[in-house]
Symmetry: C2
Subunit: 404 residues, 2 copies
């Protein structure tokens, strides 16, 4: 009789956002007359910009004629896109990243879930607490995390790095050395950004201890303050210790188009084994390239018009972030994030648990957010609100909060 | 110091098609004046059909307005597509498959590479020999295959099922019982199709022995003869032992659009563990849905117009298959496949090895095919030619063969 991967069975409950979706569905079925304001999932709401739409139509038109039809993409991405990324996202910031160190994919979620495959089964991972669930869950599925303690919410073999108001939601360097360190800045869910000096400390730590940093920079476009690095490769020595994951979802609104990329520098090695070559092999074996039309849309983001479009989209959402954060603070709530990030991380009132506040807010205001505890034990007592709604929705949510 | 997944390092050489690409590039650089006829990779060459192009333009247009914009897709696929598939590909053939048993993905390659994750690390897999390399390589990466013997080309812990002219390229039921059996019909690379009776034997064998069949039906649209099942669920009892993988690449020409799906019936269980629920969890954790616009394009394939388009595309390629097969036979070559499949599996002449014939054909005719030995030891002495070129290319290839 065949046997299943029992690591899957260790996963508690279902994926956070599925649970939220089920709760919201149950609520709307029970209250068909009530309207819901969704500030839960980090999904964008504004349409694709004109340069992207035009690039998509043009690329679709190419697919209609044999002379300009495109079949299988190169596994690692079209050169036109890899070159635009290397130049626009890296060389422009003084980072030495070559086009062939960039691996185009169908999104940052796939990459952040799959990247753990490159490491040995007994690797110790370190994650921030709270954390984007995919980093931990993908390692659970691979059998690296030990056993789950439902009382504490912790896995026995994961190094948790608390991110609290006390440390400004920037984890301290871990005492016990991890093999793989997941960092995400600007952070999901707390909205915290890291300065270049502090990130340099992490790079130095990783190089000194032989750790690899998986740096999730999906929200870099939201950085508004100086001294905050947009890429980990702005730090010296990052080429020998860091992998960076980027997304087109939050800057250009590609959540429904699916495009992202991962940078694996050629200098990142363990003995003779090159993580760059291993990731190339993974792409070649288990992935067949991102769609041509979507890669063309991605390339359109690097034109002058495309940059202006991103600036406008990010500006739109950041106005929401200000609306939400300023509004909540005026109502007496304690808030973090929302300055270099589309996420506002609010303290739940009256010592309510995150899920109690989720239910309370849904029932009494019809507003959906994300319970902080869904991101880890240190998220308990917090609640994540996203700025990805429309202006109207964000204002509407605040009006509903005001009536609580 | 971090450690890598050493299973990756066991993989010999690079992925078959990368090796071919490198050889062809070297040849074209050395002979810039020579033209190449490519019948190697199974990539389509004809443009997307009118119903698909229209669906893409329409969906792109929707993405330009907030009212009709689509962000994250449901992880498992949009209902409109899952319902079209359940009805068009299954209910229409008398198979009991429900929409929520269909998992929409970015293609059959990803699914066939990732599906092994559901099984325990000590699972024994069985593959046909020759075989599509992804099945084996993805299991190598997961550490299930033991050690590689470069002399024989076999992994110590894989059950190989020879497919030879003697058994009509349909493997015999294995004596040693595997946990997971990979089958692909119509077959890549041999082009062999299986009758319903023979496939029923496999389903009965799997149910009797507690094995799971991963059934790759990416080429089902090419079946031209009666009695050949288009889906494994045409066989009785397949719901308790089989997963089926399908693609839009070869029927509708989506190799550059990326769309496929996998069927995991709810009856497929190991004790309390449901492979359906596990695959849903994997999709929810490591995948973020196929692009909305591509799913709309997929749905367009199930309209009357879409069906006519597929019939026309498949007919176009099958004319090439006839050209190639009939032409080669007239020249005295021994050929298989090409009747229910876009692949012609020819015996190399004069006892040449597959790679020697590859080099000989490239040098002397400028024709690129795929060496049979790249698909496994029993592919040695064979050569795969695909019908996915244009009519002109296929005829041109035959003219070049005639001059050898």
């Amino acid at each position: 009789m065949f046997k299943v991967n029992e690591n899957y069975l260790k996963l508690p409950g279902s994926y956070l956002f599925s649970t939220i979706a089920k709760k919201v569905n149950a609520f709307t079925e029970a209250h068909p007359d009530r309207t819901i304001v969704r500030l839960g999932i980090g999904d964008v709401t504004q349409p694709l910009g004109e340069p992207v739409i035009r690039a998509l139509h043009d690329a679709v038109a190419e697919m209609a004629y044999a002379e300009t039809f495109h079949g299988y993409s190169p596994d690692l991405g079209y050169s036109f896109l890899r070159e635009a990324i290397a130049s626009g996202d890296y060389k422009a910031r003084g980072c030495e990243i070559e086009p062939d160190e960039i691996f185009v994919s169908d999104g940052a979620k796939s990459d952040s879930g799959n990247i753990q495959e490159l490491f040995s089964e007994d690797s110790r991972i370190a994650v921030c607490d709270p954390v984007y669930p995919v980093y931990v869950d993908s390692n659970v599925m691979a059998g690296r995390t030990g056993t789950y303690d439902p009382k504490t919410g912790y896995w026995s073999n994961v190094i948790y790095m608390p991110c609290t108001a006390a440390n400004g939601f920037i984890a301290d360097l871990p005492k016990e050395v991890p093999d793989v360190i997941y960092l995400c800045f600007p952070n999901n869910p707390t909205g915290a950004a890291i300065t270049k000096d502090r990130l340099q400390d992490w790079v130095d730590y990783a190089n000194k201890n032989g750790s690899v940093i998986i740096y999730d920079a999906a929200y870099e476009a939201y950085i508004s303050e100086k001294d905050m690095p947009h890429s980990i490769y702005e730090c010296e020595g990052a080429r020998t210790c860091a992998i960076e994951i980027r997304s087109f979802s939050k800057n250009a609104g590609f959540t429904g188009l699916r495009l992202g990329y991962t940078v694996v520098p050629k200098d990142l090695k363990c003995g003779d084994a090159s993580l760059h070559d291993m990731w190339a092999r993974r792409h070649g074996t288990k992935f067949n390239g991102a769609p041509y039309i979507v890669q063309r849309a991605g390339a359109a983001c690097y034109t002058d018009e495309g940059r202006a479009m991103i600036k406008s989209l990010v500006g739109y959402y950041m106005e929401n972030a200000r609306t939400i954060r300023d509004g909540l603070e005026k109502l007496g709530y304690t808030c973090y994030g929302g300055v270099n990030s589309p996420y506002v991380w609010m303290k739940t009132p009256d010592g309510m648990t995150s899920w109690d506040f989720f239910d309370y807010l849904l029932e009494n205001a019809g507003v959906v957010g994300t319970p902080g505890s869904g991101f880890g034990p240190n998220g308990e007592g917090y609640f994540r609100l996203t700025a990805f709604g429309s202006h109207e929705n964000s204002k509407n949510a605040l009006e509903r909060f005001a009536k609580l």
